[in-house]
């Protein structure tokens, strides 16, 4: 806050000078900080509140720190199947009644599962705060799934797999990439799991999973919107406080060994056009190197001015579509870039060019203009990604569950703005080494038989 006109003028002049320099980061508009509170109940449930009275609605999310990386061999897809079962009834709520209650009050409810966490959420008019807390507590406290509901829901999940993966061109792209890139860590398999493992899942597995992972000490409740924190805390204590703490949650997840030599794969998939992939193992989300890696990925592949789009799609037209991603999640994952190759173009040439674009990050620093653009893109995503109460809850819960540090929900903005061109080159040199590289060429082939559907086997 500047009250003195002279110092204001100096600040403006300073900003102008900076904007002529290499990195005019001071001109970047800042989003407001989150004014949250955080509590932990005696049973271990972490509770985050953020009051936002702009619209009379509330968003409640419950994150369970369990995802597909916690799945054991032979049970891939189980974390996600279990997410479905959480809608199949508890002591005071019949099967499918939870979502039907939410819609009848004009609300929205859904759930999702990824490698690291399972998220249940609802957005409802503000007066229904007691109902949503009660519903979430009822299924955490007293899930009861009948055998016929279990079997029927398993079929639904198998349909989901067919719909997302097996029956769509390129639906199995991630499955191919991660299966080849990983040897040991469960990131090798996709969250949806294999058909074979889904078939093998039993009602007995449900109970074990529930007792191990669906305990208050493995859950984070985030409430954002138009509510009174004191009243909400009383309700949370009333409904969730009575659920006993569970045993410590096992975290015995095998580590991925460091690759020792470049790996090349050629596979066939029943897709219309070939695709090529180049990738490297990287570090986890929250690690200091994650921020320059994120910037690096933006320079390579965010938007029409990114290097991969300009080179592969626009200028050389070696690819119909091309993109890259630094998958920064809880455990070390991958940076990878993909190109879909039009007819008449060589996959070999495209793979060479794609690799050259990625590896160029090592040989020369990115330009100041590229860095500035990436930071501005980041600021844009950061600001536009905090518009709704659902988005706000997502950032808060992510900071608590994945970073184990709620301050990162705000603090990351500065970490990103501090990244330098040297940082970006350094992380490229650290992670994009010849011995850790993997290259995949996917050629069009005949349709798989349903029995082969999968590839997530471990």
């Amino acid at each position: 806050m500047l009250r003195n006109p002279t110092s204001r003028a100096l600040a403006v002049a300073g900003a102008v000078l900076l904007s002529l320099g290499a990195t005019p980061q001071d001109t970047i508009v800042r989003p407001p900080k989150f004014d949250y509170t955080m509590t932990t109940l005696p049973n271990g449930l972490q509770v985050v509140f953020l009051e936002d009275h702009s619209t009379p609605i509330i968003h409640l999310s419950l994150w369970y720190h369990v995802g597909s990386k916690d799945e054991k061999a032979g049970r891939t897809g189980f974390a996600h199947l279990f997410e479905h079962l959480m809608f199949k009834g508890s002591k005071n709520v019949r099967a499918d009644q939870h979502p039907s209650w939410i819609t009848s009050i004009g609300g929205q409810a859904n759930a999702s599962t990824d490698e690291d966490a399972t998220i249940f959420w609802q957005t409802v008019p503000a007066q229904y705060l007691p109902l949503v807390l009660w519903l979430e507590a009822d299924r955490l406290g007293s899930l009861e799934v009948s055998e016929d509901k279990f079997l029927s829901e398993r079929e639904v999940v198998k349909e989901e797999r067919r719909m997302r993966v097996d029956n769509v061109p390129y639906g199995g792209l991630s499955e191919v990439i991660f299966d080849k890139a990983f040897t040991t860590h469960p990131y090798k398999h996709q969250t949806i799991g294999s058909m074979k493992d889904l078939e093998s899942a039993t009602i007995a597995d449900v109970r074990g999973f529930y007792e191990t992972y669906y305990v208050p000490n493995n859950a984070t409740l985030t409430l954002v919107g138009d509510f009174d924190s004191k009243q909400a805390l009383t309700l949370v204590q009333q409904y969730f406080g009575r659920i006993p703490q569970g045993k410590p949650v096992p975290r015995d997840i095998p580590k991925e060994p460091k690759p020792t030599a470049e790996r090349r794969f050629t596979v066939e998939q029943p897709w219309p056009l070939p695709a090529v992939v180049v990738g490297y193992p990287i570090i986890n989300d929250g690690h200091p190197d994650a921020y320059p890696l994120h910037i690096l990925a933006k320079v390579l592949s965010d938007g029409q001015s990114s290097r991969i789009y300009r080179s592969m799609v626009y200028e050389k037209q070696l690819a119909l579509a091309a993109f890259g991603d630094a998958k920064l999640i809880e455990h070390p994952n991958l940076f990878y870039a993909v190109a879909v190759i039009p007819q008449g173009r060589s996959t070999e040439t495209a793979l060479k060019e794609l690799t050259a674009q990625v590896d160029a990050m090592k040989t020369a620093p990115i330009t100041a203009e590229e860095l500035n653009r990436a930071k501005r893109q980041f600021a844009r995503d950061y600001i536009l990604g905090r518009e709704t109460i659902q988005q706000k809850a997502l950032h808060l819960a992510h900071a608590v569950v994945i970073h184990n540090d709620i301050t990162t929900a705000d603090g990351e903005f500065d970490l990103f703005q501090k990244v330098t061109v040297e940082d970006v080159q350094r992380v490229a040199r650290t992670y994009f080494t010849p011995e850790s590289r993997f290259l995949i060429t996917i050629n069009p082939g005949p349709a798989r038989t349903p029995a082969q559907g999968g590839g997530g086997d471990r």
């Binding site: 009948s146 061109p169 938007g303 653009r373």
Partner: protein, 490 residues
């Protein structure tokens, strides 16, 4: 990957065996709601510039960003029947170079400023949408204005877009969801512009010339044929001033008048697109419907919601909750300016295709034959009225609702009165509109899947007549839906 559960609606009692309760838990009933606040539609302001451009401003300063949306009242429906695809190429080329900025400069300018710009064409509109951090609004609107008014349509960029579209045909021709959607529209609307397939062959794409693009742009891209919304962290006055600065000099011009042929009468037709090896069948069941401005829109919309929309969804209950036959099922009322469609959509494993089709069609009959349960109706009504505060959370969501009313020429009062109007619909109204506007015996049906696994079931399920077309032979622009001259592939 994020895997989602769709909301389930019908309730079925739990079976006897299963997972026993493992924790002590009391028996209780759900708590009562707190005091409900009164909610009004948020403030917005409208202004028409001297050149006829209608501008909407919504001010909300929660995040330091501004979004904008320019809608041109012309899309695929304004294509001529000889040259489908002109509207989509015009849209795709808007940001690929203007009189003063190359494609590269446009992308770099917007992205370096912390913005995002998207262009596209739908049935009756072309849009230029954007969002930007608040200190760069003037720059972003300047780019948007130039993109809307002075696209270069450079030969090299046209070539590049066409090459990409031609390559893309190969992917979409094998995408069962794309095929099912395009084919059901084609069956329901015939060759009416709403059902006309886009440029779906190399020939059709290559027939389009630069002159076609320039003419389409000249005819329709005028300020008196456009709507602009500027929303977010700026005042109404700032929004209008920014609109005036960027678009005020855009010259007004006459807009052509177009008349459309009537869509064909509803006709029973079942088309099986054979995709050998498919593990799942895409199912679409549809028919022609009324326009958005029809006076019975509200009860018709409610009937479709009970059949397959949020707040009720019989199809979801029957196909997913009761039988585990699918992941998702819905019925949608797509209402345009001059007509609309009712389309039910789902997918299922190959071996249950016949069963799913029968169950889906039966629901079209049932909503006509039997009065809906008053609880089902109330569920749909409660959803529609209760959802109101959720639908006004962001300035963009508020703007979309206002733009919709303006686009269709509907009263802005409805933004406030809609909630009450919904609650006046009765069980008898639902049955009356279902009988008047649904034609369960004359539905268009599309099945895209491995025909060998399910055509044998169709007769027993009451579908004895169908056309079977190998996927490689499908031609949406041919009356018989087949490519001329055998097994040629584009």
């Amino acid at each position: 990957m994020s895997l989602r559960i769709v909301v389930a609606l019908l309730v079925v009692g739990a079976g006897a065996s299963g997972m026993a309760q493992v924790r002590q838990w009391p028996t209780e009933t759900p708590p009562r709601p707190l005091q409900a606040p009164r909610v009004n539609f948020p403030d917005y302001k409208l202004k028409t510039l001297p050149n006829g451009l209608q501008v909407l401003a919504v001010s909300q300063n929660e995040q330091p960003a501004v979004s904008f949306r320019l809608l041109i009242r012309a899309g695929a429906a304004q294509d001529t029947s000889a040259k489908p695809g002109v509207a989509s190429f015009v849209a795709a080329l808007l940001d690929q170079g203007t009189a003063t900025r190359s494609a590269e400069v446009i992308a770099n300018t917007i992205e370096s400023a912390g913005g995002i710009l998207a262009v596209g064409a739908a049935n009756e509109v072309t849009f230029i949408n954007g969002a930007i951090v608040k200190d760069q609004v003037a720059l972003a609107l300047d780019v948007a204005s130039e993109v809307a008014r002075r696209p270069a349509f450079a030969a090299a960029e046209i070539r590049r877009q066409m090459d990409q579209a031609i390559q893309g045909l190969q992917v979409s021709a094998e995408d069962p969801e794309y095929i099912a959607n395009a084919l059901i529209d084609r069956l329901v609307f015939g060759f009416h512009p709403y059902g006309r397939p886009g440029p779906n062959s190399v020939d059709a794409i290559q027939r389009i010339t630069r002159d076609d693009l320039v003419a389409f742009h000249r005819n329709w891209f005028v300020p008196n044929n456009a709507l602009l919304a500027i929303v977010g962290d700026l005042t109404h006055e700032e929004a209008f001033a920014a609109a005036e600065k960027a678009f005020g000099s855009w010259a007004k011009a006459d807009v052509p008048v177009m008349t459309f042929d009537e869509p064909p009468p509803p006709t029973r037709r079942l088309v099986v697109v054979d995709r050998p090896g498919a593990v799942q069948t895409e199912v679409r069941v549809g028919q022609i419907a009324v326009s958005r401005t029809h006076k019975e829109y509200v009860p018709i919309d409610m009937a479709l919601r009970i059949l397959g929309g949020e707040g009720a969804n019989r199809l979801f209950g029957v196909l997913r909750s009761d039988r585990g036959l699918t992941y998702g099922a819905s019925a949608n009322f797509r209402a345009y300016k001059f007509g609309g469609s009712f389309i039910a959509e789902t997918d299922t494993r190959s071996e249950t295709t016949g069963e799913v089709l029968r169950l889906t069609v039966d629901e079209f009959f049932r909503i006509q034959k039997e009065p809906v349960d008053s609880r089902e109706l109330r569920g749909a009504q409660d959803y529609m009225s209760g959802n109101f505060p959720l639908a006004i959370e962001t300035p963009s969501a508020i703007a979309m609702q206002v733009l919709n009313q303006l686009f269709f020429g509907l009263s802005l009062d409805e933004l406030e009165t809609y909630r009450e109007e919904v609650t006046t619909v009765s069980v008898a109204d639902i049955q009356r509109v279902a009988r008047q506007f649904l034609f369960p015996d004359r539905l268009s049906i599309v099945l895209v899947g491995d025909a060998s696994t399910f055509v044998g079931q169709l007769k027993a399920m009451g579908f004895d007549q169908f056309e079977r077309i190998p996927i490689a032979q499908l031609d949406l622009s041919a009356p018989n839906l087949r490519k001329a001259g055998g097994d040629r592939r584009d």
